[in-house]
Symmetry: C2
Subunit: 244 residues, 2 copies
């Protein structure tokens, strides 16, 4: 976190500040808490969650291996235990004192109900909203997400220099073929990848985009965000009724 | 499935026959159905589940990536999409007509409640019962499962020749160091591994066992199986009550 970012946050006082890829130092956490922000941070295992708890952060996001986009691991050089959303959520609920927000593969109210059954206080959905017209996903990304390709997501470092889950596309195929050549560090590879995608798109080739998606991608719905939220609420209520 | 196995099953007519690593041919499925057996089969992705549905099997086990023991992939030479239990269960419920049994990382009634919220008709628990005194796990396996090592499970082909999830131990460390040397095919590697473990145990070294465990391992309970089942029932009821 840069000083300029911290200054902006302390000045504008957003209701929630959520950290990914680890934690800022104690002084910065204190500054944000002093500004009245509720602080959250992503954990992919119990050790990270314990560090989040010790730092005085208010809640933890249990980011399961299913999740799309960047994996919030604190140190990508350590072995990744690849904990699924179900196992990780239950572990953090059972073995930390923090409120847990469950993330990864949750696409509908049934998924939210499952997260709450595990003891999470909330669920965080990303991929579920990518196909909504309000998102900034380009046409190639939308087409890939709504097509057969949604069944193939991959965890790759190729697009950005850090592990992230995305739809399998020409970029990830190339990276598989090029392995084990390691990409440059984050965000050098990410900047280069964005430039590559820009050049490719200019020729009508959409296969080099950072098409982030979680394992629930085949359940994505191309409906306005408000309709999706209404559906989520109804599905959650139905799932809870069925539990009786 | 060998002819002798099929004959035994048709003769003894168990209530349920469950397949792993793919499906037997149509004649064998017909013979087992003719004997009145309910047939189940494990799927790790939608394609496998569709094949199970087409074969006339009665139900599908959604085996998430969290699950301990052998991964039921039909063809281990294909890329593994590593679908987590939550994402896979929801996908199979939504996109097949079969009753779905959810498996992988489920250790308690809260986990069972989550599976049912996703639309599964039942949950299958394995690792949850390994520490029960009734299981055949040896002392080294029990000690590893109930210790800090339970936080590190790995998916490896080294122990048997097919991908399987187990506790990280001396055998899996050796396999990591030896990679990318591929082990012999299943079950050749498995037979050799069992012999290795037997020799190691004779000297008091327990780190070469096939210590199968799912990602929920840190939540294992060393209590009699009947007590565990009672706890599961109570936890499930509590989780359902909280959903209101």
């Amino acid at each position: 976190m840069l000083d300029a970012m911290l200054d902006l946050l302390v000045r504008t006082k957003p209701a929630v500040v959520s950290f990914h890829f680890g934690l800022p130092n104690a002084a910065r956490i204190a500054a944000l808490k002093g500004a009245g922000c509720v602080l959250l941070a992503s954990a992919t295992n119990l050790d990270e969650a314990k560090a989040i708890e010790a730092a005085g952060v208010d809640g933890v996001i249990a980011q399961g291996y299913e999740a799309g986009g960047h994996r919030g691991v604190f140190d990508p050089s350590l072995p990744d235990s690849a904990l699924g959303t179900l196992a990780l959520t239950r572990l953090l609920v059972a073995q930390t004192s923090l409120p847990v927000i469950s993330a990864g593969g949750i696409m509908d109210g049934q998924g939210i109900a499952a997260a709450l059954s595990l003891g999470a206080v909330a669920a965080q959905l990303g991929t579920a909203f990518v196909a909504c017209p309000e998102s900034s996903a380009d046409d190639g990304y939308r087409a890939a997400l709504m097509g057969e390709g949604a069944h193939q997501t991959v965890m790759t470092e190729a697009l950005s220099g850090r592990p992230a889950r995305c739809l399998s596309n020409r970029f990830t195929h190339w990276a598989d073929a090029a392995a084990p050549i390691a990409p440059p560090d984050y965000p050098i590879a990410y900047d280069a990848g964005k430039a590559l995608n820009g050049a490719a798109k200019a020729t009508g080739e959409f296969g080099f985009g950072a098409q982030w998606a979680g394992q629930g991608a085949p359940l994505a719905r191309a409906v306005p965000a408000a309709s999706l939220v209404e559906a989520l609420i109804k599905e959650l209520a139905d799932a809870n009724r069925r539990a009786l």
